[in-house]
Symmetry: C2
């Protein structure tokens, strides 16, 4: 019997690669996305296509009005998305407690379907400024999961898988290409338009383009 895993799928390049990795490791994958007041909806459409392409058992989208909390350029239209390069400090595109919230909901679904494995595409190389992308955060969440749940109190152990955490963008893309990920389906841009076309200047676009350049592979991104 194959093991079940919850895989967080955003519609972006990283999580598409994670889904391919989880599938390659033999997991029966439950893809989870969030409609949390992102500026655009193109990435949720991309998430659905990616989940379908990689044979996810189910793709669930949880609605969650994080925009009512505010505090991030990704959910608050009063804060501009930066286009002047990645800095070392915590960026305004950081969504407060986002990965804590996403993993919590993944944990709830894991309990319902009987999964003990959760895959998330956090990356501590390009996102060193996000507190909730670091190994210390993942480790603390895993400890929490094991006291927070029915399964945990009865002795089962949850594992939070972060296969990309130490990889550079070009290494992520190389791994995905080995696993036949069609990156043309993915949307990375922080401010993609309704057709999923990228701006080319935000941090996410710059990181993605640099990754493809480093590999001398053609980037299938569609630019506006």
């Amino acid at each position: 019997m194959s093991k079940k895993a919850i895989v967080l799928v955003s519609g972006g390049l990283d999580s598409a690669t994670v889904l391919a990795i989880a599938k390659a490791e033999g997991y029966e994958c439950y893809a989870l996305s969030f409609d949390y007041g992102q500026r655009h909806n193109a990435e949720l459409q991309a998430a659905a296509q990616i989940a379908s392409r990689f044979g996810a058992v189910e793709h669930k989208v949880i609605r969650l009005n994080l925009d009512s909390i505010g505090g991030s350029a990704l959910t608050d239209s009063n804060i501009a998305v930066p286009v002047d390069g990645v800095s070392d400090s915590i960026p305004v595109t950081y969504v407060p407690a986002r990965n804590t919230v996403f993993l919590s909901l993944a944990l709830g679904w894991a309990e319902v379907v009987g999964a003990l494995d959760i895959f998330i595409g956090v990356n501590a190389v390009d996102y060193s400024g996000y507190p909730d992308c670091r190994p210390a955060f993942i480790s603390a969440f895993q400890q929490l999961a094991n006291v927070a749940t029915k399964a945990g109190v009865t002795g089962s152990q949850f594992q939070i898988h972060t296969p990309l955490i130490d990889l550079h963008k070009h290494e992520i893309i190389a791994r995905g290409l080995e696993l036949s990920v069609d990156y043309g389906l993915t949307v990375s841009c922080y401010q993609a338009n309704a057709q999923g076309e990228a701006c080319g200047v935000c941090d996410a676009c710059r990181l993605r383009a640099a990754g493809f350049n480093a590999l001398t592979v053609t980037d299938p991104t569609r630019y506006a």
Copy 2:
């Protein structure tokens, strides 16, 4: 300057008492409720009244379709609410990872308003069967909060306050009455009707009635 706190307010007896305690301790309170597919909406109306009565700076309701995850009698209409007394095992009214999700969202709002204190009315006496009502869970969440956030990584310490965790129901009510909580505003029943009238037979109704009986105080609950 008064300190800010996020206070989880469900509309029930316990969290109303917690809000009164936080206020009495001098906190500027931000009341947070969740519309998570509960069977009835009466408790959210109660939450709004309670937040207003205790002078919360703001009352925010976050919508969250936990019912799409299922797995609990409180969010899944296919699972019956038990009316045959509290058992020692994990009850079907347990909502998978609920307090993890709620505290995560409270943490996100705390980051935005600049609060380091979060109050939650968990209780390990009456809810010993819920993994996420135990001190070990709260402790693990507090550790997570301090690595998950901007504030945490810059050296500030979050505190998760659980003033009711060791109290019996009659002690909670006694504390609230000292602080002038109007329990007539609160709704405890798992299956209250649209007017906020209680069933009188579910676990939550039984625990509440026993608490008032033990104090020989009149219970202002309105029964259907």
